[in-house]
Symmetry: C6
Amino acid sequence: MKKIERVETGILGLDRLIEGGLVKGSASLVSGGTGTGKTIFCCQFLKHGLDNGENCLFITFEESANDIINDAASFGWELGKYVKSGKLVFEYVDPLEAKTRLGSIDEFVKKTVKEKKISRIAIDSVSVFGLYLADHYEFRKDLHKLVETLKESGATTILTAEALDGSTRFRVEEFVADALINLYGLKIGEGNFRSLQVVKMRRTRHAEDVFPFEFTSKGIVVKKDII
Amino acid sequence: MKKIERVETGILGLDRLIEGGLVKGSASLVSGGTGTGKTIFCCQFLKHGLDNGENCLFITFEESANDIINDAASFGWELGKYVKSGKLVFEYVDPLEAKTRLGSIDEFVKKTVKEKKISRIAIDSVSVFGLYLADHYEFRKDLHKLVETLKESGATTILTAEALDGSTRFRVEEFVADALINLYGLKIGEGNFRSLQVVKMRRTRHAEDVFPFEFTSKGIVVKKDII
Amino acid sequence: MKKIERVETGILGLDRLIEGGLVKGSASLVSGGTGTGKTIFCCQFLKHGLDNGENCLFITFEESANDIINDAASFGWELGKYVKSGKLVFEYVDPLEAKTRLGSIDEFVKKTVKEKKISRIAIDSVSVFGLYLADHYEFRKDLHKLVETLKESGATTILTAEALDGSTRFRVEEFVADALINLYGLKIGEGNFRSLQVVKMRRTRHAEDVFPFEFTSKGIVVKKDII
Amino acid sequence: MKKIERVETGILGLDRLIEGGLVKGSASLVSGGTGTGKTIFCCQFLKHGLDNGENCLFITFEESANDIINDAASFGWELGKYVKSGKLVFEYVDPLEAKTRLGSIDEFVKKTVKEKKISRIAIDSVSVFGLYLADHYEFRKDLHKLVETLKESGATTILTAEALDGSTRFRVEEFVADALINLYGLKIGEGNFRSLQVVKMRRTRHAEDVFPFEFTSKGIVVKKDII
Amino acid sequence: MKKIERVETGILGLDRLIEGGLVKGSASLVSGGTGTGKTIFCCQFLKHGLDNGENCLFITFEESANDIINDAASFGWELGKYVKSGKLVFEYVDPLEAKTRLGSIDEFVKKTVKEKKISRIAIDSVSVFGLYLADHYEFRKDLHKLVETLKESGATTILTAEALDGSTRFRVEEFVADALINLYGLKIGEGNFRSLQVVKMRRTRHAEDVFPFEFTSKGIVVKKDII
Amino acid sequence: MKKIERVETGILGLDRLIEGGLVKGSASLVSGGTGTGKTIFCCQFLKHGLDNGENCLFITFEESANDIINDAASFGWELGKYVKSGKLVFEYVDPLEAKTRLGSIDEFVKKTVKEKKISRIAIDSVSVFGLYLADHYEFRKDLHKLVETLKESGATTILTAEALDGSTRFRVEEFVADALINLYGLKIGEGNFRSLQVVKMRRTRHAEDVFPFEFTSKGIVVKKDII
């Protein structure tokens, strides 16, 4: 039985819930509603790798690289520094052009991971990517291919998905992923807290409870309490 | 790390919840049901800029300029005065003609912002705009382009969206925006109050609670209590 | 700032909730389920104008003029008398023929309002009108045009809409109107009462609560209690 | 003001709730789930007229004349006797053939009412009639025409409609009718009773409460209690 | 008034709820979720007839004759014995071939009932039959024809239907039947019991309550308690 | 009456609930949400057979053989050992190619079961298989054929299905199976536990309650308590 290699997320308090980190080379889905912190989760995950000398790739369908770098800066994370040094590759893909460029994203991922020796990837978000495809069937196929490419690349990946009414938008996003982490946000009338739950993680005995988390000056911090 | 410039909303009690104001150059979505005060929010936001000497643009798909100016007048806001002096540009776009004119809206925004040195824009509402497009896919594309144009213009923008059953009508409006502010209205059987919540705001540590607000003679006033 | 002219509804107890009446020249939507009193609301609104010497127009897609006149008669309102004297114009439009005749309704409204010096209009109901159009998109366009015609005519208009599960049938009816008044009806298991709520009214500081009402020999009477 | 003529339903306890009976010449919808007693309501309504010397017409899309006559017989109502004497006309229309025969139903109604001097009609059920039409739009048109024919005939009509989840199946049936009477049936976990509610009835000050009813040896008997 | 002939179901405790049995020659729908006992209901109904010397027909779209015979054997019902003696006819119809064979099912029913003097028929299930038809409209027509054939045959029939969320799958199955018996199954959080309710039965004063039942060594036994 | 042969599942605590095991040669559906343990259920079922000297087949549409073997290894199950010795056949089918290869899956199953003397099969999951078919109708047909092939092969089969909102995704998966076992997972606000329920199992008097289970170092262990 092969020892499973773990990759620390850098999310404070999360790694202890998942045997020390994500499975190396796996693709994990982080799902949550608007404003639950999915983009920050991505930044924190990459920042942790960058600080340890790893090379990283951020593909975004939502915001410009500058906007995300500025967002991260509000937590004191100087991603721009790593972009300049070439250790962090930022690729904004206009979702309106994603369809025609998708083959090249697959190619881009393969090529970039190989050339730049990338070990961490974040893709934010597959929902936006899907919104501009013609139909659900096309989305399933393209997402399937993209995730296969990601997993074959050897890098460890976080993909984000927009949750609507507590489920992923297309209800297939979680199929392609090795892990599913739900972020819960604010809700009127049910108490006002943020929380996180590891719903599934292959090859991992993960905690199954719902844990509150906070945005602190160090980013997301998962607390030890159980909700 | 670049200092983030803030733009005061002029909504009394709101700016203290969002580090002093909206991020300069960002596009924020204000979402709420019928009668929750979205148009008044727009007027108050523009009026605050006008009083400080800024130039503003109001694009409406719902009402004539006169109707909105009259509405604002019931709060003592003399928008007509600014229209006459050329500091406020009002553009009513018939939603039935929006499709054919959309390219020109993008052009109109670019040209007007540049020529008139506009720093604040309100668009009321993207839902009405969407209702007269042929399908959701077309709406997504057109909205996406419009928001890109708005953000590139350098002005700070408020877009409104109609909420149905607690979500935006097309469920994509919040994707394109940097911020999402929900207005909650009257509901039978759950108490009779108005309230506001900042659900997301990029580059901002915003308050996460639900705050009651009132329509006063000075417009919307967000109170300090938490619901 | 222009003084806003008000038009009394004649619904006892309602005008005090809306600064004395509807905004002159506006179009208000009265929405409610089957049997909540929408047609009676229309009759009472027109009857109040007729008694004050105004000329009125009633366009119905649901019932013959005779049926409505008979319904009104059960409240002692002698609409037939005004029809004879030419002060009340009744126009029944077969919804199956509305599509081909819509242009002419717009024309009919313009011409009738001008020739007969109409100051109050009731249209009952836009939902039935919509049911016989080919699709939602066509309904939106035709309703939009009709309401523009009504508002340009200078008369004050009440449109009714059928509510299903607490919302308007097509969920766009409230967009085109300056005001939205909800009528709530009978419900099993939640108490047995009728009530009314002004959800939105432009240029008006309206009461926001839910008020019980009753059908009396004088028609609808809104009571001062709050539910 | 014309005195409104009333037609007794013969449903014990119902007429006192509706000013003595249905409006003469009107078309009333009786809506309820499977097994709530709609067909029995029809039989009881016609039987009351037959016993008073009136001539009646029963159009059914669901069961053979024999089955309905047998059902009625279990309440001691000898409809077969009236069929033989020619005072009751039974017309079973196969719903699969209704589409091609609809014109002739209109003709059949006109002709039969005139020749046989029919004063009461029951049609059971418009939902089954609708199920075999190609689409909702066609149903609306055909139902609209049928009801116009019925009302022009001068006879007083009961139409039944199948309720699903508390609403009529096509959600337009109640539009065409002058009255809506809901029958409520058995429900697990909410108490086990049958009840009836007059939701709307034009030209009538009807009781608005929900009243329990029972199937007795004399048919449906509405009780004086309120639920 | 003709005396109504009754056919005992053989379900212990059920016949006393329905005046002694099903109406002879009628078609009854037994509806319930997965695992509520619909197939066992069919077997028990036929077995009761077989033991009294009647000839029976079982048409199944779900399982092979052998599987059903084996299922029945677990209650000690030796259906195989009757198949051998020719008193029980088992017809498995592959639902993928049902469409092309439907005409022949009608023919098969007519011919078999006549030749074999069949007095009881079970069809399990019309939902599976419907799942492999192209659309709801086709299902309605084909089901309608099949039930007419069954009723004309003179035999007494049980049809089963799969319930989803408490309703039949196609929501028309109950229209064609003379009776509707609901089987309720296991549900988390609402107590763990099986129960049965006669929702409608033409020409029958049936019990209206919900009765618990159990699977015993004698098959389904309906208990006298009321839930 | 033929004695029913049972096949132990190897799920600790489950066999005692189902008369000792699954019916030999039957196809059982294991349904549950993401992360409820469906793949582990499959592995444990096959591992039990392998340890007893049986030959097994695992067809997966979701993960590579290596990933599943690694997952199983975290419970100490050395499936790789059996793959090497040829007693366990792993077949990963890319769902994007399943459509064109389906005939060959049927052929593959037939051939493999015969040549390798396979007595246990797991297919994980039919939902993923269905997601890449063009429509529900095609899925029903292909699934129907696949299950027929499986049952004719003589081996005992577990199929898994993804549950959405408590039902299977396509709502037909349970039709084709002889048994339905539901796995319930984590839910916010309703307590945090895993549980299992045998909803239906042909030819079996199974326990009907909901039983909690845990993931232990020996895999799934169903406890004796009742929820």
